[in-house]
Symmetry: C2
Subunit: 341 residues, 2 copies
Amino acid sequence: MIKIVVDAFGGDNSPTVNVCGAVQALKELTDLEIVLVGNQPVLEQLLATEKYDKARLSIVHAPDVISCNDKPTEAIKTKKDSSMSKSFELLRTDESARALVSLGSTGALLAGAVLRVGRIRGVKRPAFCPVLPTTAGGIVGICDSGANVDCDAVYLQQFAIMGSLYLELAYGVKKPKVALLNIGVEEEKGDALRKEVYPLLENTAAVNFVGNMESRNLLSGEFDLVVCDGFAGNVLLKSTEGACLQLMKLLKRSFMSSLRSKLGALLAKKKMYEVKDMMDYNNYGGAVLLGTTKTIVKGHGNSGEKAVYNCIKQAYNMEKNNLCQAIGEEISKLAAQQPQQ
Amino acid sequence: MIKIVVDAFGGDNSPTVNVCGAVQALKELTDLEIVLVGNQPVLEQLLATEKYDKARLSIVHAPDVISCNDKPTEAIKTKKDSSMSKSFELLRTDESARALVSLGSTGALLAGAVLRVGRIRGVKRPAFCPVLPTTAGGIVGICDSGANVDCDAVYLQQFAIMGSLYLELAYGVKKPKVALLNIGVEEEKGDALRKEVYPLLENTAAVNFVGNMESRNLLSGEFDLVVCDGFAGNVLLKSTEGACLQLMKLLKRSFMSSLRSKLGALLAKKKMYEVKDMMDYNNYGGAVLLGTTKTIVKGHGNSGEKAVYNCIKQAYNMEKNNLCQAIGEEISKLAAQQPQQ
């Protein structure tokens, strides 16, 4: 049995989507156990109309909520009765609780992960690794996408190792092709950090390093994992999402501006929705935090029920394949090879 | 008369598009003079079939070419007979030659700009400032988009000043709204550099600073100028362009996959081309290099004739409005306010 904690009061559409996503996951994954953390009477009322295996779902009462306006570290330390703090408390005290799924404040989740769960031995910094769909029909991971804004070369080396293991164990990608995000493909390109990281990745046995990548090729399908500092990764992720959304909006507006194109759009509607669906993050779960001793998955704040279900499935797959243990082993191998600092 | 030097042998489609773009500009701008630099017999042959005011066009012979595979600084120093080196030589020796338009190697252009043209007094680093169309129908500039990968806070402050003047003088944007590229909108967000730049921009009188911007809002039309280091700016620019291109490709492929959607696409074709046209960089000229004593405009390597024409017009507008002088005045005001380092 794999026990996953779900923060039921994080996200714009909570707790409804959190509860529905959890119920769906229980139906599909027969060795999954879920603990919903949040306001008990509200959760019980929502569950009253749902059909699920009651033996595999429990509730932990948490009447308070951490909002995106709260200061992350402070909120985790002082809002003891919040759904997120209680979730972390559960991870800390219950050995069998293996993972946490939350759509709440990214900062608070990161603070809780470091303060309450802790890093895997040898890991310098945990990092977020969301995956995006590529136009070739596959996926591409970005590590780090925002947990660490100031990075050194060894952090990026570890991101490459952790991200590779994640893609391999949670998505079955064999020998993931790892690229370094840079401003040109030539080896000598980039700032001081990139120039230091490049040879380091070339000499990391656990990483299938294929060289530099320019951001315009992110969705091309040529790469499985892009390694970067959290600042550049965040810019990369959000500008890609933003450009896709803005372009779709622009097309829609343009199609609606004449009768002829309106009719055309109607005929092509199904295909347009297929593309929209393909680019929809709800289908790809959330951004996994790599490097902590228990699995943590952060879903988009405005996730729907399907995204919550996918986040839970993602956490389940990671635990099923012992990702945290694999990361620990690979990072300690690395430490053994390197001189002590 | 405004004299502009055109590197006729830079870019994937040179020299044809360079020559045609120059001829078009001569037709439209009656006080423009152009010097085409490149292989003279080839240029003469191309010009033979064109109609233009011969008094306002001259050729400077340069048989060699700097390619994107050449090492930038080395190429500028050793390939004396290349079209780009000769162009810079002209800027250096001919007082009346005010600007250079090139589609060639970005690195070589930057090296030549610094080594042969030189910075405006007080400017720490010249910076690229391309503009993109927004979905609101306006434009947004990105400064720096790749000239400086390692930056300090004062560089970014100067990018904000130079970019603001550029948008105001070349595009007529009144009091451009300047945002700092960051990973969240709250003041305290970001890495060490961003935390230092934020209060600096708040206290810069010449800049209408409106706060942090997340990369997903680049095309929203809420901002006129985004200030960033060249690494993040390059990631922002190329991921936005890349995502738009990939999504259009995906839609096209999807529309062609059924008869019904094919018919739909046919009906909506005109509107689709309108959007494609709107997002086409050929309509927006090139990336201007701000901070050198003469105007330098870098066009996309795969620019067409229209883009070359727009680059020349851009350089013309900058010179017409004395942008370099305005930058010099504003930067020296800033230096007077700040303690000497």
